[in-house]
């Protein structure tokens, strides 16, 4: 509990103490919101440049390197470009909806950050249905996507929106289901409680993160896959597949509105990554007891950054899926597997009372087998028969 750990909390309370007492909760909320907007806005800017540079490196090129030192000022240049660009609205568009769509997408996502605990005593609100709030707020983005797609009065926009909504609905199911074991074992929907449940250490100081259990590991992977699809990132980026439907529902957007969509997408990714950190990776807890001296928000940031890097890495590595593959993958693989994961978590919980010499490894192996075998079978069933070898009619 060193000073560095609670520095932001003290700062907030110190600032609020200047105001009259009845207004203090409101001031604290505003301060928290301001902090979140600042940090994640910066994060957004940083991520764009890091992503572009990483992608570049992975694809054997430099990436942006002209603006500022090593191209680090590129985001600012982009932002300026976006803001001063002409805002084009199609003639036949439904102007109101066209205007509202980016707002409906972006605003709720900011709200979603309110429940995330970024460090010790560092969540804006502690709702006892926190995770439900998170998903309830997130559901607005589907409406926003539809509004964007439909109001543009453009075939590609509409098709892209429909694809996006189908994808988001399909992947919302495994996304939510994969979090259920965590809630079940923590016995709470409050994110602070969930973090606290992972706060103890065992086996020479290793943290009891959910990701260190079989069901937690499986849940984390399921959650990350679903989250990738939920935030329309590669390899699930076919709603905006440039090669197929131009830019999907974003086709008719430009300038600041486009920037808002862009921001919304990245914020969605951040929020869901923060949730993954909270649910599976112990939140702001250190991985080892002897590392506890570092401030809690530092650990949150480290895990957060690692996961963001993982997303970028996946984007650079994997090719895009087909729509039918996408839907099959969700309904025939992720959903059953997350249901089985629920069962495995129940088994894990029941076997918690085991008391014999090799109890911990036995429990681990049993649960791992319970999740690995269905994984194998479902994977085999999903693969189906191999397609016939491709014929190159004109190539030879």
């Amino acid at each position: 509990m060193n000073g560095l750990d609670q520095v932001f909390v003290w700062l907030g309370h110190w600032l609020a103490s200047w105001f009259p007492v009845p207004a203090q909760p409101l001031v604290l909320a505003v301060l928290a919101m301001a902090g979140i907007i600042t940090v994640f806005g910066t994060c957004f800017a940083l991520t764009t440049i890091v992503e572009r540079k990483t992608l570049g490196r992975m694809q054997n090129r430099y990436g942006p390197n002209r603006v500022g030192p090593c191209g680090l000022l590129q985001p600012i240049a982009d932002a300026v470009k976006m803001l001063i660009k002409e805002d084009i609205v199609p003639f036949s568009a439904d102007k109101t909806l066209h205007y509202l769509a980016p707002l409906v997408l972006t605003v709720p996502i900011w709200l979603a950050f309110a429940v995330l605990p970024f460090g010790r005593n560092m969540s804006a609100v502690d709702l006892n249905a926190g995770i439900l709030f998170f998903f309830a707020i997130g559901s607005a983005s589907e409406l926003a996507v539809f509004m964007a797609g439909w109001s543009s009065q453009n075939k590609y926009s509409l098709v892209g929106a429909m694809r996006a909504i189908a994808q988001m609905i399909s992947y919302e199911v495994p996304l939510v289901l994969s979090t259920v074991p965590v809630l079940m074992l923590a016995g709470s929907l409050s994110l602070n409680d969930i973090v606290a449940a992972q706060g103890t250490f065992t086996y020479g100081g290793l943290a009891r993160w959910n990701a260190f259990t079989p069901w937690g590991l499986a849940g984390l992977l399921l959650f990350l896959i679903a989250a990738t699809a939920e935030s329309n990132r590669s390899p699930f980026d076919l709603p905006e597949g440039e090669s197929e439907i131009i830019a999907g529902y974003l086709t008719e957007y430009s300038g600041f509105k486009y920037a808002l969509f862009f921001l919304g997408e990245y914020l969605g990714l951040f929020a869901v990554t923060g949730l993954a950190v909270t649910l599976f990776l112990g939140g702001w807890h250190a991985p080892f007891q002897w590392l506890e001296w570092a401030p809690s928000w530092f650990w949150f940031g480290v895990k957060f950054g690692a996961l963001i890097f993982l997303f970028i890495w996946v984007r650079a590595t994997l090719p895009r899926l087909r729509l039918d593959q996408l839907l099959n993958f969700s309904w025939r693989f992720l959903v059953p597997l997350s249901l089985i994961n629920l069962l495995v978590a129940a088994v894990w919980w029941r076997t918690g009372a085991w008391k014999f010499a090799a109890e911990a490894p036995a429990r681990w192996l049993l649960c791992a087998a319970l999740i690995a075998l269905p994984f194998h079978w479902l994977g085999r069933a999903l693969r189906g028969p191999l397609p016939p070898p491709r014929k190159y009619t004109y190539a030879e």
């Binding site: 909806l97 006892n128 249905a129 709030f133 309830a136 439909w150 709470s188 929907l189 409050s190």
Partner: protein
């Protein structure tokens, strides 16, 4: 208390959304306004300290039902309204009269009832934990029934909306 202050805006949003949903000509606008009304209702639930119900309302109605309605509108080409076509069925005043009568009756009852001018309990909380416990104990049968109903509805919806099998073409000569 901010809670009490919030009633009026929430009520206005809800009612305006509902009226707009029932009156606008463009079906997509109707659906989106309805989503607004649902969100307003969720806010009202929150204002009434029913946190879980409010979030569930948001998740189900805004996240699912509104999307479903929008999908249906697109699939049935409900948005392609011809300029001159009537938005209401014949003799709408009969329906309006009936609805008005119902509202008049209800409000008449409410206003005339003496037992409704009571104040709320000082604190009322619906913690998720006790909701879960009640669902698993007192309400376990309804919960199972709802689960069954949802499954049946899912299957039924899939079956009803299934594309009809292509009719066999008569042989062409």
């Amino acid at each position: 208390m901010p809670n009490e202050l919030a009633f009026l805006p929430c009520a206005v949003v809800t009612l305006a959304g509902a009226v707009a949903a029932m009156m606008l000509r463009n079906l997509v606008h109707c659906a989106l306004c309805a989503a607004g009304a649902f969100a307003g209702l969720a806010a009202l639930y929150l204002q009434l300290d029913a946190q879980f119900a409010g979030f569930a309302q948001l998740l189900v109605y805004v996240g699912a039902v509104a999307i479903l309605i929008v999908f249906t509108i697109i699939l049935t080409r409900g948005a392609d309204l011809r300029p001159g076509a009537a938005a209401t069925s014949p003799a709408p005043w009969v329906g309006l009269l009936a609805a008005g009568l119902v509202v008049a009756c209800l409000i008449g009852c409410l206003v005339s009832s003496p037992s409704l001018n009571r104040l709320p309990a000082a604190t009322a909380d619906a913690p998720v934990k006790s909701i879960g416990e009640q669902l698993m104990n007192q309400y376990v049968m309804p919960l199972e029934a709802i689960g069954l109903l949802l499954t049946a509805a899912l299957l039924g919806a899939v079956v009803i909306a299934l594309r009809e099998p292509p009719k066999s073409e008569p042989p062409t000569r």
